[in-house]
Amino acid sequence: MPAEVSEGAVHPREVVRLEKVVRQYIVGSAVVRALAGVDLVIHEGEFVAIMGPSGSGKSTLMHILGCLDRPTSGHYILDGVEVERLSDNQLAVIRNQKVGFVFQEFNLLPRETILANVELPMMYAGIPRRERARRARQLLEEMGLGKRLAHRPPELSGGERQRVAIARALANAPAVILADEPTGNLDTNTGAEILRIFEELHRSGRTIVVVTHDPNVARHASRVIRLVDGQIVADEGGAAA
């Protein structure tokens, strides 16, 4: 284990390290353990699928990984930053800088152009307007949407919207891309197209975590983690595992 922590030429950098992470909620008088002690290390360049039935805690894990939520106990180090004790505003900065979200429902701002949508994380990062627009345009061109910059999300197909969302997730060059059922609202062909994009991103060295219950999605990943009742029950394919 200690060998993994140290950074060396052989072992890629750690992007995510969870240690005994517990997340529990109090519902009425009952205590619900969504995560019951999760240990997980993800290295740079990995494409990880987190699978599990509903209620297994994968959404909670996703929220913790994305710094939308904090563990009740345990440690979470994201890209070298211990985030479990950060304030709401500090977490906002971490989300902005180190996490790129891709959601099942796309979660684009429907009344803004797709260019403005991709600019949004860079705006909160304080990147100057001109630079922002340049990068957003470039990202959207890479996603094959260079001719539709002034369109708004409702004018686009599901696959196109998800590509906008991926461009937005890449905007601040995050340490990790977190995708929550990214193909859940898409037909099979479009879903496959989105997964090809994730594969390309993986090949170019990005770290990707996909939460899904779909085995077809998980097949594209280099490592599959199975979650049951808030605990990791299987971890297959990881180079470092």
């Binding site: 939308l68 906002a92 989300r95 979200f101 949004l120 705006m123 909160y124 990062a125 601040n172």
Partner: protein, 401 residues
Amino acid sequence: MNVRETAMAALRGLGFYPLRTFLSVLGIVIGVASVIGLVAIGAGVQESVTSRISQLGSDVLTVAPAMQRGVWGRSTSPTTVDASLARDLVEHNPLIKQAVATLQTQGTMTVGNSTLDVTVLGVTPDYADIFAYPVQVGRFLRTSDQELGADVIVLGAEVASTLFSDQDPLGKKVQLSAGNYPTRSFVVVGVMGSLGRTFAGNFDGQVYMPASTFFRWTGQRRVSSFILRAVSTEAAVDAADQVNFYLTRRVGENKFRVLSQQTILETITSVVGTLTLSLGAIAGIALLVGGIGVMNVMLVSVKERTREIGIRKALGAKKRNILSQFLLEAIFLSLTGGLVGLFGGWGVAALAARWGHWPTVLPIYAIFLAVGFSTAVGLFFGIYPAMQAARLDPIAALRYE
């Protein structure tokens, strides 16, 4: 994310629902319009009053019998109140330079077939001098007219133009009848220039004859008013006090009123002020209602855009980014209302000014008042909804349908 970008986001937020935006700010529109309207009307009236007064000369005082106090000078004999009192006022009050007694009645003047209702004044030659009242043609009354009790008459500009149109009135005879007095014939010796309507009356609609002639014709010696002139403009207020004191001893208390331009101005200013204040309270209530409208629409907006807030937070918006976005939106909302109200109030003031014949004056401070008020209302009533938005939990907000 800088102020300009937050402002742009807020402005776009407003543009999505124009009708709702308009309805919610209607209260602010009305509130600001009434504030602006009031201020502008008040300023216009004040300016008109001030200009009429400065037209008269601010060293002029008027002594008039007190209203509803019975007949002027009843405690003294009519003779002492007429010419001698005018002289005494100058002799015993060092701050008074000139004094003229005026005798007044309403009459009808006839020239050929035309008749005109006029105000007839019996005055001494000083009268034109006190008001710096210019002669247009011919001459004003002379001391010799006064001594002889001559049947001469000087016409105000309006009287001359109405009765003689383009004819030369000089040397013409006019018939004058007034009340029970016998109709009498007078020779026109002069026409005055125009002074217009002032607080001393409508000069242009008056005709002037020597006080002695007036008395011989009507037998009336009751003085309508004394016109006094102080030694200087600065001395006018002190002169009014002096005359007040003198007359109180001479004819008794509460039998007369000494009016200086200063006191007239003060009275009118205080009336306008009271009016503005009480109507201002109504405007305040309208602004309050408008503010509640803004708060309501902002609360609805925050609820509707919960998901947007969740997305923004997930992408790295801090609390203050969300807070300032919604706060600015509320301020823009009420500022829009404020600007619409500004122009609305201006329009109302312009209409009122046309109706009341005073200038349309929109003081610069009124514009700041409108902008300031609406900004303050937006800030005050927008802070709560904006805080609600900023406090939202990102996970719950993202799940919101």
